[in-house]
């Protein structure tokens, strides 16, 4: 696109993703026709991706406060106090569309982008996680996408030297045409060294640092807000390539600069690069920016103002410095072999004025650019929740142990080792709980504190009943943190949905938010950051509603944490939490009956909290030697995972309860934990006193899973099934 010949035609406006009404609004704001650069700037600022125009009204309903919260949504990432003058800073973000088009680079740049959101606030990134959803294993593109995405995440995170410690992987035909790549980063900062993006002050130098600007991803932000069609291949040249080496240098250089006292404001250049970073910084600071694009370091020749303002080249930051500190700052960036250029100055005009080759290419009111984005309360229709299915109505399998083997060796429940062994999950020397447990734990460097982190959502529950699904996602994150011994602190979210202009999709969004809100409130687990990715549709087929939750918790002393591995023979296995044998939307039903029916398991938030609080107390008192929450696949899967993790078998007690055996073993009732303890009696009485259902379910020992009346299953066989599926799938053609 060239800067000349910019006659504003309806086609040009439509190409920029603006509706005719939105264009009218733009004309009213400017009081004249925009230049092409101005049109580009408005189009990205008003894109769904940057403006949250369809989601904002609903996101506002989420609780975001708590005594631990230092900074909630609205900044680059959320900030939570962890005591001793330290804070954890974290956020999750989607890179769905780019990863579908070019899985390696799409996923890699997703990781890079989320890390910048975290270190721009003064935090050293200390852990990365990733929540991945792929299409059905037998879909033609799935293998290629899995391979590229995993390699891209590893390629970036490994090189930067931040451990990738956790995440989740789903396969579901609902993602055949739109995969989801949600990357999360957790960082650590001192509370007196946190940096924000408000550029307060007039006459301050605006500095560009990092990589040079190229024609990468121009219109990425509008692409991320558009539906796919079969011509999406055409949009390919906008793919951005990540440079993790430069990111590593950028982290070190920024942190070195931050250690001094020269920064007024700092902001990464994410989606819509120079445009959104300068508008946000100017708007938050209540100032104007004069930008001289001749000073922008460019990688390619002949770049226009339009291209420079919209480029999404990676590994770049914008900094507003205290006047006079330019030389000090420049020396740091030059030491790290990064570009450094003063590209502008803050002004009292309240306008973003962009000049290039002596011409004013854009002159727009900052406030209007930032605040005037349309906000839609789009029509929505709620999803009708399906009826509950009684345990008796789901047929029993021919053999319980066959069902166990089928589930453990299925794409849904098989080991993700193939994924995380491609990630350096140990660099930085503080990964005290590696992938494979409920939450990963990284030690706070130089202390005994630990930060636990997890990613969770069960999309099939959200599809059936968005409200219960939204609740469940938050509750499961809380549970995974609890099961590792952490005090859950707060969450970030990544709301992945279809086209919000369709009322039923908007209804899914509204429902999930409603459920999340209830859970967040009941569990005191506020939302401190997040991201929305809409229009995940291809040819009118939307993805399952997927509100991915990233949870972070604090372990005051890592001597008191738990993991899932059964370590000792002769211990008692206890189940905490109510058993209802809920098989609706279960993996048992999906794998054994090949259908998804009924309501998902409901979440009782009051019980959830009570049960979790007891589990955490038991861990702190060292009363338990292993803990695992019961999630996908139900109780038998949970205990099998515990057995495999520790290499210790178990025998389940002969069941005398009211439920059909298969419903007891495979039901996905929520709010439950399995614990292993040397002395069970005391725990049983404590649970009863607290009003929590508890049952002794078996004993540890041997090298098999034994269920009364069934052929025992050797651990080795189960391990082979569990470990082999993914590597085998990935190596076949």
């Amino acid at each position: 696109m060239s800067a000349q010949a910019a006659a504003m035609t309806p086609e040009l406006v439509a190409e920029h993703g603006l509706s005719p009404e939105e264009y009218e609004r733009l004309l009213a704001i400017l009081g004249r026709e925009p230049s092409i650069t101005e049109l580009g700037v408005f189009s990205v600022m008003w894109s769904e991706h940057c403006s949250y125009k369809s989601s904002k009204v609903w996101l506002k309903t989420l609780p975001t406060e708590g005594p631990q919260v230092i900074c909630g949504p609205g900044e680059n990432a959320g900030i939570v106090d962890i005591g001793d003058g330290q804070a954890v800073i974290f956020k999750m973000e989607s890179h769905n569309h780019p990863s579908f088009i070019e899985p390696y680079q799409g996923a890699a740049t997703g990781v890079g982008g989320i890390m910048r959101d975290v270190f721009t606030m003064g935090a050293r990134p200390i852990a990365n996680l990733n929540a991945l959803r792929f299409g059905a294993p037998d879909h033609a593109k799935t293998r290629h996408l899995v391979s590229g995405v995993v390699e891209g995440i590893g390629g970036y995170g490994n090189c930067v030297g931040v451990p990738t410690v956790g995440g989740e992987v789903n396969f579901d035909p609902g993602y055949n045409g739109n995969i989801l790549v949600n990357a999360m980063c957790v960082g650590l900062a001192d509370t007196d060294k946190i940096f924000y993006s408000a550029a307060r002050g007039i006459g301050l130098p605006v500095v560009y640092v990092g990589s040079k600007t190229g024609r990468d991803g121009i219109h990425g932000a509008t692409m991320a807000s558009a539906e796919f069609d079969d011509d999406s291949d055409e949009k390919r040249p906008t793919v951005q390539v990540g440079d993790p080496f430069t990111e590593k240098l950028l982290i070190e250089a920024c942190l070195e600069l931050m250690a001094g006292d020269t920064i007024i404001a700092i902001q990464d250049m994410g989606a819509a690069g120079l445009t959104s970073s300068s508008v946000e910084m100017a708007d938050k600071g209540g100032v104007g920016f004069d930008l001289d694009l001749d000073k922008v370091p460019c990688r390619e020749e002949g770049m226009t103002a339009y291209e420079m303002m919209l480029s999404e080249s990676q590994e770049r930051m914008l900094i507003v410095l205290k006047p006079g500190s330019e030389d000090k700052a420049r020396a740091i960036f030059e030491k790290w072999e990064l570009d450094f250029s003063v590209v502008g100055i803050t002004t009292d005009t309240g306008r973003l004025i962009v000049t290039h080759s002596g011409r004013v290419e854009a002159d727009m009111p900052v406030k209007m650019l930032a605040d005037s984005a349309p906000e839609y309360k789009r029509p929505w229709t709620p999803t009708e929740p399906p009826a509950l299915i009684e345990p008796e109505d789901v047929p029993a399998p021919n053999s319980l142990t066959d069902a166990l083997e089928t589930l453990m060796g299925s794409p849904h429940l098989c080991s993700r080792r193939w994924v995380w062994e491609q990630y350096d999950h140990m660099v930085m020397g503080d990964t005290v709980r590696r992938p494979g447990s409920d939450a990963a734990v990284v030690r706070v460097h130089g202390t005994d504190k630990g930060l636990a982190a997890t990613c969770d959502v069960t999309p099939r529950y959200c599809t059936a009943d968005p409200v219960e699904g939204g609740k469940q996602a938050v509750a499961e994150a809380w549970r995974n943190l609890t099961a590792s011994g952490a005090d859950p602190l707060a969450i970030t979210d990544c709301m992945n949905f279809g086209n919000p202009e369709r009322p039923e999709i908007m209804g899914q969004f509204v429902g999930c938010i409603e459920g999340m809100r209830e859970a967040v409130e009941a569990l005191d687990f506020p939302v401190v950051s997040g991201n929305v990715s809409l229009y995940n549709e291809t040819n009118g087929v939307a993805i399952p509603p997927t509100p991915a939750i990233g949870g972070v918790g604090l372990i005051p002393d890592i001597a008191y944490m738990a993991d899932i591995a059964l370590k000792h023979e002769g211990e008692t296995l206890l189940l905490l939490g109510a058993e209802c044998g809920h098989l609706g939307q279960s993996l048992f039903m999906e794998m054994m009956q090949e259908k998804r029916e009924g309501a998902p398991p409901p979440v009782d938030l009051a019980l959830e909290r009570k049960t979790g609080d007891l589990v955490r107390t038991l861990i702190r008192e060292k009363c338990v030697s292993a803990v695992h929450d019961v999630s996908d696949g139900g109780l038998l899967i949970a205990v099998s995972e515990m057995a495999l993790a520790g290499g210790t078998g178990l025998t389940l007690t002969d069941y005398k309860g009211p439920l059909p055996l298969h419903a007891m073993l495979f039901g996905e009732d929520q709010g439950r934990y399995v614990i292993a303890a040397a002395k069970g009696d005391d725990i049983i009485s404590r649970a009863k006193t607290a009003g929590i259902s508890v049952r002794e379910i078996g004993e540890t020992g041997g090298n098999m899973i034994r269920i009364a009346g069934e052929e025992p299953v050797p651990l080795q066989r189960l391990r082979d099934l569990h470990e082999d599926w993914l590597p085998h799938y990935m190596s076949s053609q």
Binding site: G161, F245, Q422, M426, V427, M428, G429, V432
Partner: protein, 229 residues
Amino acid sequence: MKASVIVFPGSNCDRDVAVSLEAAMGEKPAMVWHGEADVPASDLIVLPGGFSYGDYLRSGAMAAHSPIMRDVVKRAKKGTPVLGICNGFHLLTETGLLPGVLMRNASLKFVCKDVLLKVMRNDTDFTRSYDEDEVIRIPVAHHDGNYFADGETLDRLEGENRVAFRYCDASGTPSDDANPNGSQRNIAGIYNEAGTVLGLMPHPERLADPALGGTDGKPMFASLVGALH
């Protein structure tokens, strides 16, 4: 004992190894920027893991030309012990202090996991605190760890007893299954002729603290402190 850890652009295990060194020595090592001309007086020089220059072109190729490396090579030749871990091993081969090269893993994938190693010699400054033929568990994390040298070089390395560690199974037998990257003859680490320069792919600094799940890396640092204090 004084140790220096050389920091290159893209090094990312520099802090990790400094932590292990400090725990063993009771004193922080010097962190030396690659752009310096001289290494400060040191009893030990460590080239840490990471992705110097992004591992672009070839792992270690660009860092091998860093100004500091001239001095490192000089001192290594004069007998100062040099420990190169992972990317540091790449650097040692690129500078010619150690023979051979580390190629892309046979799986073509990055691999991060614990592996078992057989300690081939316990008579060097690096390994005195191990038993000979001891099997230890240490993590690897690399994309390019597939040790290659021509047959003659390999025979010479073995003949001169310069293989430091081999990937092996629990009984100490080097097997294909135990080899995480396709290295020839299951070689995980080698010495120079004098036994004063050690390059290895596994990361002893990653399992030198019980909180991290093991301490089999600790004796290497203890050996160095014992020999060099």
